[in-house]
Symmetry: C2
């Protein structure tokens, strides 16, 4: 595995791959890798001649009071994990190389960003869409792989790719969880032992709702209520949102008719965790 | 020459060209072609294996009170001119194909759009950046050709391409003028005979300023004043702006130090004409 540290070098490589007709798969990450990221690499490995992982803690997707400076970083450890998982090229640019002096272009995805984390974190998805747009132009992948844990991110990027006619396919992969059900996240490292123990209420609540759904429950309030009750049983949990939304538009739905996402964001102290489950009625 | 009417067909062609390593040159236009557009084709022809011209009157770059519906269109005549000039593929999609129901992604270039037409036409350059971004993804050209008449557009697109790392080179070509100096524009067709006669004051004023500049004048007010005086000598002309700006950032400058653009926008009745001249101090 080779680590590429500048945009210019990455552009040259991508140009050569394009000329040679290589199928490039891209796994964009902010680093501090876990099995969720590595499951994306495994999927990319199956589809691609060349697997590129980017590691870039993207400043434009953090709000002024968020954890950009504190976001966990460990490039050496990430390099070992990425290489072990089958990454060919690790692209780890510097912020000043991605956003040089005078930088002033942003990609805005409207509508789908009005809800959930988009409503709670103004500017977050503008930063995500912008940096992913840049990564797509730099690396020129055929396919790009994202975790379903950031379910709204997947919806935003699918909308962006379709609207701007980007020649990239967005592949979403299932959430990877710890043995007790907690969704893997680089931010789990912030949790105290007690918070970590209680964090299981997110996935437990969602699992209960999914069971209700499988038994035939279609009512949004009923499904959200069981999640809310479960989360509120944890003394350290503070709910940011519990929402049932259309999986394409992210707009709230009262009853499940097609494919919905039941999504939660919960604070444990300063740490904000998200999780979700897809509840889809199979069309026959 | 082949006319392509759907995005899907254009995407398939571009994919095949990419695979075959063809050098594709793109000339984006809104149609109603004149020699200015055809000079772009000539430039593209020299650099490219395949020359694509797009004709699309882009609704998102017109304000609510602007001339979208009235903008002149003549596809058959354009086809003849494009074929004669050496276009290989004419891409003429429908608005509903470019902006289907639910469309919601926009590219915003900040800063460079705060001045000149950007200040006078809110949302105009958002529409331009968005549609050009789409065209770049659909056609995947190596180079794209634009007229210097829309000088701010060139600056906006150069900023966009650099910021978003798009694998495209923006080529700006000189303004093409009528024998009397009037810059070619599809909107000239709106002018009455008398307005058309008086429209010569734009290029006459700019030419006088350029002469002063060559004689050593560097002061912005002096250069703008000669343009203003010349335009005001035309009874039907109403000045929208006369501005001296930095050619990269489009920010106003008081004195010319590097490369500046002296730009004007003038109304004749409802018709808004623009023109400009580059005033550059050669670095030694």
């Amino acid at each position: 595995m080779k680590t590429i540290e500048t945009v210019a070098e990455m552009v040259q490589l991508a140009k050569a791959w394009r000329k040679d007709g290589k199928r490039v798969g891209l796994v964009p990450t902010m680093g501090y890798l876990h099995q969720g990221h590595l499951s994306l690499v495994a999927a990319a490995r199956l589809d691609s001649d060349i697997v590129v992982m980017s590691i870039f803690v993207n400043p434009t997707q953090f709000g002024p009071n968020e954890d950009y400076a504190a976001y966990p970083r460990d490039l050496e450890h990430d390099q070992a994990l990425a290489e072990g998982a089958g990454v060919d090229y690790l692209f780890a640019p510097q912020p000043g190389d991605m956003y040089p002096k005078g930088y002033s272009t942003f990609v805005n995805v409207e509508g789908v960003t009005d809800y959930l984390c988009g409503a709670k974190r103004p500017g977050h998805f503008r930063g995500v869409a912008t940096v992913v747009s840049k990564l797509f132009h730099i690396v020129q992948p055929e396919k790009a792989y994202f975790g379903q844990k950031d379910g709204q991110q997947v919806a935003v990027l699918r909308r962006m790719v379709a609207d701007l006619n980007m020649p990239v396919e967005i592949i979403a992969r299932p959430i990877v969880r710890e043995a007790d059900g907690v969704a893997l996240s680089s931010r789990n490292v912030y949790l105290s032992a007690e918070q970590r123990q209680q964090a299981v209420v997110l996935s437990q609540g969602l699992a209960k709702a999914r069971d209700l759904f499988i038994q035939g429950e279609r009512d949004g309030e009923a499904l959200k209520q069981v999640v809310t009750d479960t989360i509120q049983s944890a003394s350290l949990a503070k709910i940011d949102y519990v929402q049932l939304v259309d999986n394409l538009t992210m707009a709230p739905v009262d009853r499940i008719a097609g494919e919905a996402m039941l999504a939660v964001a919960v604070y444990f102290g300063e740490t904000r965790l998200i999780d979700n489950v897809l509840l889809a009625i199979e069309s026959e």
